[in-house]
Symmetry: C2
Subunit: 221 residues, 2 copies
DNA sequence: GCGACTTTGTTCCTGCGTTCACAAGCGGTT
DNA sequence: AACCGCTTGTGAACGCAGGAACAAAGTCGC
């Protein structure tokens, strides 16, 4: 059996597929049956040619002259992204941000299910958030083992993020999403993805100031 | 006067500069006086050559054979990123995520100051978060005008994000950070930067499943 | 039944970001 | 004073993502 299609999808494409999935779900809820690449690209904020190239990684899934069938394309992207399978996630650090994530309903519809919330502060333990009870950090390894959680989310202070990362990796978690403002080191075979909110703000602010005064990088008083 | 150095810094470099700044601040607090590109790159999780190229955008700032002077480099990056100047920010949508951002102490040290928190729900108005009082959405334009806020952060539900974006842009905000899971349209001259938490999780999960089974994209049952 | 129009899927190309490798420069040592 | 090791800064090559243009294909109208 030949393999005419390269078996790897670029990371940038995967991120956009998730956006297309959301737009398609909204269109389907609105009763739309077909959509063209141009319209879909406009709604997703990308170039139409790039969108078609992204979709081409899934094989032909449109009809020339007509466009894409909304429900079918949504299901197809959902299958590729693995939305239908439930993924067990654990969340460590139930501060403001952790609480926001645990309580965010948008994850459930994408196949993500929090099976454990952990915090070190005794005051937090026992609190109910999003249908889960906050547990002491000691139980982390037991819960990961019992639930086969494959994804860990770190929303702790920076000082303890590395130690939490180490424990998650040792317990068998293979994918980690880190919101703490530190760069984490993890063993091979463990993916760490970082979201740094203050870096996002900083980049945004810099682009704004650069637009106003595109000169004078090295010669400021 | 010649301009030997290109006056624009790539966006990817700006994001890394913010990371270097944080690492350098930690090193300075720890009493380190000099650091080599290799060590700094390791702490920031990047390639040493790339780090040196990033820093070369600021002009020569290291000493060959020795390394970089921690405090001087920190100050230099801080000046380029504009950390010393205070930037007024408004935040719309005081849910869990908005509260987390308003209460996050890490922004203040980077020059970001929230000058207005807004929500549409009467129950939220009057609440005190991070030293600010939550105001009704009606006051958005007045506060933006009075404080000359240049940055807006949107943490509202998706349904109202576009209308908030329109109002921010009309009020004079030039840079918008959007956490709502929709793609926003804004007029020319207004930068919109999007952070989509569920997309991050989705990409992470996909990379994990792709690592386990790198085949069969189009041929799943 | 046939032609024209619409839209997809693909190919080419341009530009950017990243990485490797080397020359230049500084401090310490003899 | 000269040499040696170490580190920076830069030039070149590689790979990748993004955008534009074109051919294939299907539908609608006549």
């Amino acid at each position: 059996m030949i393999q005419p299609r390269p078996r790897t999808i670029p990371e940038a494409t995967v991120a956009r597929l998730a956006v297309y999935l959301r737009v398609l779900s909204a269109l389907a809820d609105g009763g739309r049956s077909t959509v063209s690449s141009g319209e879909l690209a406009s709604a997703a904020g990308v170039n139409p040619a790039g969108l078609r190239k992204d979709l081409s990684h899934l094989g032909p899934c449109g009809v020339r002259g007509v466009g894409y069938e909304v429900g079918a394309l949504r299901d197809r992207i959902g299958r590729v992204l693995g939305v239908e399978r439930s993924r067990a996630c654990v969340l460590v650090g139930i501060g403001n941000l952790g609480s926001a994530l645990a309580d965010y309903a948008g994850f459930g519809s994408r196949g993500f299910e929090f099976v454990g919330l952990f915090d070190a502060a005794p005051a937090r333990i026992g609190q109910q958030i999003g249908g889960q009870t906050v547990r002491p950090l000691d139980e982390l390894e037991d819960v990961v083992a019992a639930t086969s959680a494959s994804i860990g989310v770190i929303t702790t202070p920076a000082a303890v993020a590395q130690s939490v990362c180490d424990r998650l990796a040792a317990a068998g978690v293979r994918s980690i999403l880190n919101f703490a403002p530190v760069t984490l080191a993890a063993p091979d075979g463990v993916d760490v993805r970082k979201v740094d909110l203050s870096v996002e703000l900083q980049v945004l602010a810099f682009l704004g100031q650069q637009r106003l005064a595109p000169a004078a990088v090295g010669e400021m008083a």
